[in-house]
Structure formats: C-alpha cells, structure tokens
Amino acid sequence: MAETHSLQDMRQQAAIAAKVFIQRDYTNGTVCQFQTKFPSELETRIDKQQFEETVRMLNNLYAEAEKLGGSSYLEGCLACLTAYTIFLCMETHYEKVLKKIAKFIQEQNDKIYAPRGLLLTDPIERGLRVVEVTIFEDRSLGR
C-alpha cells in the first residue's frame, strides 16, 4: 500500500508536475455544475470511477446550495422584511453548504487524492469556475 503523505509534506517536498482544470458544465443553465469527463492526464494516477464519484458528489452539494424551493424562498422573504440586516447575524444557506463543500474536499484530499500525489483545490478559490487538480511529481515509483 502506498504511504500516506500529509498535505504539508507534499507541498514542501514535491514539485508540481502539471495542473488540470475541470471546467464548468452549463448544460442545465447557470447552476454551478462541473464536467464529470475524466481528464486524460489523470489516467495513470487515479481510478476513473473514483474521480467521477468525487465530481458527482460535488455537483450534488452545489445543487443543494442553489436549490430553489420553499426554504430558499422563505429565507429570501424573511431577509427582505428585515431589509437584509438579518444576514449580519445569520449565515445564508449557501454559505452553510460552502462550508460543507470545503470539508468534503478536505476529506477527499486526505483520504483519496493525497496518497496518489494529487491535490484538489476548492472551486471557490478559483471563482467557482474550475476545479483545479494539482498533479505532483510521482516519487513513489520503485518502492
């Protein structure tokens, strides 16, 4: 089994070989969804199923954040009645889900991607445009 590297060690020791950017998928409109197409650069590093599962989970989380339904309408109306001052003390639903997403990405990095020399960057740090996958140089060959 491959050694589990901590993310700190990886960043300090490993050199970045390449970066892959997973683009947005606009087929359902302007909602935040990412393409599940498996990039060829990752073929040697990670299982296709695993990667697609990660992106699908991410898409589900974003869909939950942007869901138009009873609770979002209620939040909107309540906020309007208080002239949006309620957001000074309360977190919006979207922000709550973003925290969930950050935790999810951290978990995925720790369990799945870091042992394979990969690193996922939270899309919010790239303006919700891309999922940046950093590929570190593979030093584990011949172990």
């Binding site: 606009y26 087929t27 409109g29 138009l68 309007c80 002239a83 957001f87 979207y94 922000e95 940046e132």
Partner: protein
C-alpha cells in the same frame, strides 16, 4: 538609529486588478466614479428632510401621526437598499491565474488545429447547449477566461461580472447577480417613497389652501415647492425604471440581453433561462439563494507590506504604503497588458446612461517624508493572442472605424 521595520500581511483586495474602489479594509466595494452616487444620496436625503421638516408637522397633527412614521420606515428601507446595492460585490469573476490561462490557451490551440500561415485564427468561442438552445461563450482577453453564460465584462470597472445587468452610475456600481435584487427593491421602494411624499405634499397644500387660501399657503410653506419639483421629475424616471425591470424580471432577462436583443425571438432563439412562468421567474430572481462573493477581498495574501514604525526614528525614512489613512483608495493594480474586449467597449458605450463622469484623482500619501511606495506585483501572464488576431473582433474593429 536603526529603523524598526514591521511587516504586515496585505489583504487580497489591495492586489485585485480592476478599477474598483475599496473601503473599510475591503468590506465595501464600489466603482471609481462616485460623483453621481453622492448626488443620488443628496437628492434622497435632501428631499426627505424637506418633507419631514415642512410637511410632517402639519400632517401629523391634522391627519394622522402614522403618516410621518411610515415615511421614515420607507426612507430607511430605501437607504438600506441603496447602500446595499452600492457597497456589495455585484458578482465579479476573478481573473484566471497564469496556469489556468495557459491551460485554456492550450485547449484553444488544440481545438483550432493548424491554422495555415497568413490566415487569422478563428474567433475564440465555445458553444454550449443550455436547455436545448445553443449559447456562445465568448473569451475575455482581459480576464483570460471563457465567460460563463450571462456574464459580461464591464469596461468601467474592468471586471467580468456574472449575470451582468448594467453599470449604474446612480448607485456607483455594476448591477449583477449578487446585487440585482437589492437594486430592484431600491427602485421599487424609491418609486413608492416618491409617490408617497408627492401625494402627501399635494394633500398638505390643498388642506392648507382650504383653511387659509392658496396665496397664504405659498408664503407659509416655502420649503414645499423645491421638493415637490424634484419629486415630480424623478417620479417619471424612477417609476419607469421600476416598470422596465419588473418586465425584465418576469421574463428572466437582463438589461444587457435586452439591449443586445439576445432573446428577441428572431432565428427562433428563445431565452433558455426562463422558466416560462412569470411567478417562477420572479421567485428565482428576487427570492433565490443569496450567492456568496467569490472574490476573496479580506483574505490575507502571501506578500508582506512594510508598516511605518513609530515616529521616534529620525534619520532613516521608513518605506510607507499608500493605504495608511486615506479612507477611499482607488485600486491601482490594473495590469498594463489588460486589453478590454473591443466588443464589450462597444456595448458599454451603448449602455452608458450617465453624463461623462469625472476621473477622481487618487489620494496622495498623507505623511511627509514622501517615500517611494512598494511596487505593485506585476501579473506575469504568458503572452497570449490579442483581439486583433481574431476574425470576429477584427470585424467589429473595422465596423467601429467605418462609423
């Protein structure tokens, strides 16, 4: 004798490209030209003050004290919505970092294949299908990204804004995805406020005239007339604007799309974002989720900026930053190689509804001795193709020259 140099981490807003002004350490974000915004605030506050001073005492006594109370509530709501629209991030998309820009560039090269020498490469467009409709995503040469659908580049603020509606000089900011509902509520509540105080202004004059005659009323209440005049003229424009935006919301369109005629129906194009139901469209635009800002303004960067030490040091001048005590700081870090898309400049000219705004001078560093400021970190991006090498952009340039 040695100067003690303390460094502090810069916040990200200090390094953001684009022509925005930031206040309160990055919490407030506006466009650079704020003159018309100050005029808006002055008109609203001034008119309402005249109403409260001259009309309300009479109306409270002779009709009902609820009248001024409701006017105050409405006035506070209008100001809250105005400040919210003006100070918030409209939905600015951060520019691509160099690696992302290179990656996109490589994808474009791969998609274009080999262009024979002497021929211009095809325009940078990506086609996506949204709800059965083909939508073209254009490439932004300034931000080095393919713009998401409904996003547009504002040349006044030099940013790509998501769900770009228009740049409003009256609020001193772009109107985009994040602040459109506040803008709409501002125009709606301002219409109601203007109608309200205009109506009660008339009621007040009529009631006084019945009591003491029209001429005496004119002499007793000189403050009424300027504000009635302002109300009368602003009424039409604000109510008209509210009506126009109500129409746009019911169709789930933006002002930008309306002006460009994107979904006008010719060639059988239809708005792929509309729910085909007025109620659903209104709910989505006005009561949808509150989108967070993807522009991290208050995060700390990796760079260190020197901070002036205590005034005890005498001989060695300490390098000073430009952001010490000036309250409003224009953002100076627009990269030199930024070239706004020519097509967007054309559209921005069509959209500009303001009188020519004055460029505000950046505040000079407050303290003597004047010290060279820390140089802005240049954004090093690989040299990428410019608009002039694209067929589509060059057609637009040719059209502009012909006009």
């Amino acid at each position: 004798m040695s100067a003690v140099m303390i460094t502090r981490k810069a916040r990200k807003w200090e390094k953001l490209p684009g022509k925005n002004t930031f206040c309160c350490d990055g919490r407030v974000m506006m466009a650079r030209q704020k003159g018309v915004f100050y005029l808006t605030v002055f008109l609203i506050v001034g008119t309402c003050s005249l109403f409260f001073a001259f009309e309300c005492p009479y109306l409270a006594i002779h009709l009902s004290p609820a009248i001024p109370v409701f006017a105050i509530v409405l006035f506070l709501f209008v100001m809250a919505m105005l400040l919210r629209t003006s100070f918030s991030d409209p939905g600015v998309l951060p520019r691509a970092l160099p690696e992302e820009a290179t990656f996109i560039e490589m994808e474009i090269e791969a998609a274009n294949g080999n262009v024979p020498a002497g021929q211009r490469p095809p325009p940078r467009i990506r086609n996506v299908q949204i709800n059965g409709q083909i939508v073209k995503l254009k490439y932004c040469y300034t931000c080095k990204i393919f713009r998401p659908p409904r996003a547009s580049h504002c040349s006044i603020c030099d940013n790509c804004v998501d769900r770009f509606d228009h740049h409003c000089p009256w609020v001193g900011n772009c109107v985009g995805k994040r602040n459109y509902r506040y803008f709409y509520l501002f125009t709606l509540s301002l219409s109601l406020l203007t109608i309200y105080i205009f109506t009660f202004g008339i009621v007040h004059v009529v009631m006084r005239s019945v009591d003491s005659g029209f001429v005496k009323t004119l002499q007793d209440t000189p403050g009424t007339y300027p504000f009635m005049l302002v109300c009368f003229f602003t009424l039409w424009s604000v109510v008209g604007l509210t009506g126009f935006h109500s129409y746009l919301i019911s169709l789930n369109q933006t002002t930008n799309e309306d002006i460009k005629g994107s979904w006008s129906g010719k060639n059988r194009v239809q708005n792929p974002y509309s729910h085909k139901n007025i109620i659903n469209n209104c709910c989505e635009v006005l009561c949808g989720p509150a989108y967070p800002s993807v522009l991290d303004r208050r995060g700390l960067t990796q760079d260190d900026l020197p901070v002036p030490a205590s005034t005890a040091t005498k001989s060695n001048p300490v390098p000073q930053t430009t952001r010490t005590t000036a309250p409003l700081i224009p953002n100076e870090h627009t990269p030199d190689d930024a070239k706004p898309s020519i097509a967007d400049l054309a559209i921005a000219h069509a959209e500009k509804i303001s009188p020519s705004p004055k460029e505000e001078k950046p505040p000079t560093p407050p303290k003597a001795p004047v010290i060279p400021k820390s140089p802005p970190t240049p954004t090093k991006v690989p040299p990428l193709a410019s608009p002039e090498t694209d067929v589509e952009a060059s057609i637009i340039i040719a059209k502009e020259k012909a006009l």
